[in-house]
Symmetry: C2
Subunit: 397 residues, 2 copies
């Protein structure tokens, strides 16, 4: 029996597909600095880990489909601290941000409908779009201007009778762009005029630098019926393995329908929710330290990239990624070469080729994404190796 | 903006939708015996709970998309004990059995394709079918003959050019039916002749009574390319809140494609996988005790049902559900009435109306599903209240 078209066509993760090459490199005894994945090295807060260590129920039972009440109530407090007033019924706890995006697409779109997404975008949106039969219509943004949102005209030109939503990632993975309030308001205005949902992926909401602040889609007036927010604890508390996120909307019909999809899969993980709940009461000091750590890392990586001739990148304002345009033709080839052919003092560097973050064919072929998720010492060494590698790669043959 | 057709049409859980009525009943101070959900009262094994209590990594990190190696290797041992020879690459660890079913449907079917499913079936198959755009074609089975599989002719009559798979639940939720080896062979033969996948949901594989044994779809010869198995630890170890399952196939192409969907959602919960891994080494004695406990409960509920006039049910052979055909017109009305109007010594009983387990309109309206997941004492009391309630319901007005 032939597999389904969608199974044959669904994109393999461009972030994970170089892993077999990395494993071969490691077998040769070469150390790899992993700048390719968004797995932070930051310690998960003790408050969370204590929940696992102290769990004492006799039966590890199902929770409610929309998430544990105690956690949803506490999430209301979390968002309130960030100036977003919610009711616990506006929130569905999901199995990580991934599931929240799938539920959002299922609820907003039929198979064949279109969603406008600024590119480059989080590559797994492709997988979620394939799963749900949704067509991603890319809105191209550019390294040269820091991946800023294009003009209203360029956005409106992409709207068709099949468009059901605009999906943003803010702060952006892989771009590190933070959209200013005026841009979110622009998007909201276009959404209202054209009756479109705005699905806003805000999993990096706390990771904003240079004293800037975050504008949530839930902050925008008159968007009650159209604003859909996706969130996750994975990066916020360095708890990627806990698989807890949420889907938030003040549109009651939207939430009521999304809950039906949530009921089909019964519930998100129970103890992970309790751990996520404990994380909400962590003091501000925790984030301040982490943000300042990431800001230092960003500065370091950015400065190192600036030192390399013909590399184009604007200093990113949020998340923990940088997209750099390199003076080469094929960054996937370069990434493989760094693993297979190059090492410096028995070490090399792995990063993500950026082509997989674009939907428009051919774009991003000379770009890479660097995740600055290592400590400053390691990052410094990694960037030195990267610079040497790029130089040798350009001069090869 | 109007929601999607699929969001409007997706079935609300017939098991969970009576919960608001139950909450009102509880507010009145009336105790409810819950026979409506499959949440066992059995204690989760200490070996699993110890994993949470002793977890000592500093960073709760992502695992591989296909699941932790240590756990997949150990699952090979688990299936080997049950006579099923596998390679760890045949296994993808999923976020509960639910996700395994979604991945199986996505990989086997395009939107608009058909899957033949014996009805009554696990009601959440409806939700998964809506999510994936798959049409469930019901193959009706009957309470009167213990929900046995119909003849080959009846099955073949449902096959169309759009049919991609037959999906079984064995042992059956909600029927408790255990298909004999000859029936699984019959299905396999039909699948091979018509080039169809067989998706076999075997989450209750250990829950088989009367000394019978289980036939997995993976046991059947010449089915290497067509056999897809779905499993879960939720019921096996009374760990419903852990959300760990798996998708198994010896079809390498199938697994390679399913992994791409798995990559999009990154990974299943990390600590829950470690707990599931610890459960595999639990000695046989644990299961023997539990199976004998469930067997006693089944006998009790079945005998109590036999005492009630005009109730039709055949003794189920597996899982922990019984479907009973009642001498009433509308079992949902009866279920609500039991919550809103009836109580005996300040207690009442909740069960699941069976209509939601059927895809054919009108079927199951006079049937209910009872989950025997309470201890014998409580079950005895619950069945007494049930009998009194049914009698009063029939005589009302």
């Amino acid at each position: 029996m032939r597999l389904s078209e969608r199974a044959i066509n669904v994109q393999a993760s461009p972030i994970r597909k170089l892993m077999p090459f990395a494993n071969e490199t490691k077998k040769k005894g070469i150390h790899i600095y992993h700048l390719n994945i968004g797995q932070p090295d930051i310690e998960t807060p003790k408050e969370m880990l204590n929940v696992y260590n102290n769990y004492d129920s006799k039966v590890l039972a199902y929770g409610p489909s929309q998430g544990l009440d105690i956690y949803r109530n506490n999430l209301v407090n979390y968002y309130n601290k960030h100036g977003i007033k919610l009711n616990s019924n506006d929130i569905i706890v999901t199995t990580a941000g991934s599931e929240a995006i799938v539920f959002a697409l299922l609820t907003a779109c039929n198979s064949g409908d279109e969603v406008i997404v600024p590119e480059p975008f989080y590559t797994n949106y492709n997988g979620f779009a394939t799963m749900t039969g949704v067509k991603i219509v890319p809105l191209t943004t550019y390294a040269e201007d820091g991946f800023a949102l294009p003009t209203d005209e360029k956005i409106k030109a992409l709207i068709s009778s099949k468009t059901k939503a605009i999906m943003l990632c803010n702060p952006g993975n892989p771009t590190g762009a933070v959209y200013p309030k005026e841009d979110i308001q622009r998007i909201a205005k276009i959404a209202i005029e054209n009756d479109l949902f705005v699905i806003s992926d805000e999993v990096y909401r706390e990771f904003i630098y240079d004293g800037l602040s975050h504008t949530s889609i839930l902050d925008i007036k008159k968007m009650e019926q159209l604003a859909i927010m996706v969130d996750s604890i994975s990066k916020r508390y360095s708890a990627c393995g806990a698989r807890i996120g949420c889907l938030v909307s003040r549109n009651k019909e939207f939430i009521a329908s999304a809950i039906k999809f949530a009921q089909a899969r019964l519930c998100p993980p129970t103890i992970d929710q309790l751990a996520a709940n404990a994380a909400i009461d962590i003091e501000e000091e925790y984030f301040k330290k982490i943000i300042s750590e990431y800001e230092k890392r960003r500065n370091l990586v950015f400065e190192e990239l600036q030192k390399i001739e013909d590399v184009i990148c604007i200093k990113p304002k949020g998340a923990f990624y940088i997209i750099a345009k390199l003076p080469i033709d094929d960054s996937e080839h370069f990434a493989k070469w760094m693993l297979e052919e190059f090492s410096y003092e028995n070490e090399t560097v792995m990063f993500a080729p950026a082509e997989g973050f674009y939907a428009t064919p051919g774009l991003g072929k000379n770009e890479i994404r660097i995740a600055y998720i290592l400590n400053e010492n390691d990052l410094k060494k990694a960037m030195k190796i990267f610079r040497k590698g790029l130089k040798e790669y350009k001069n090869r043959r």
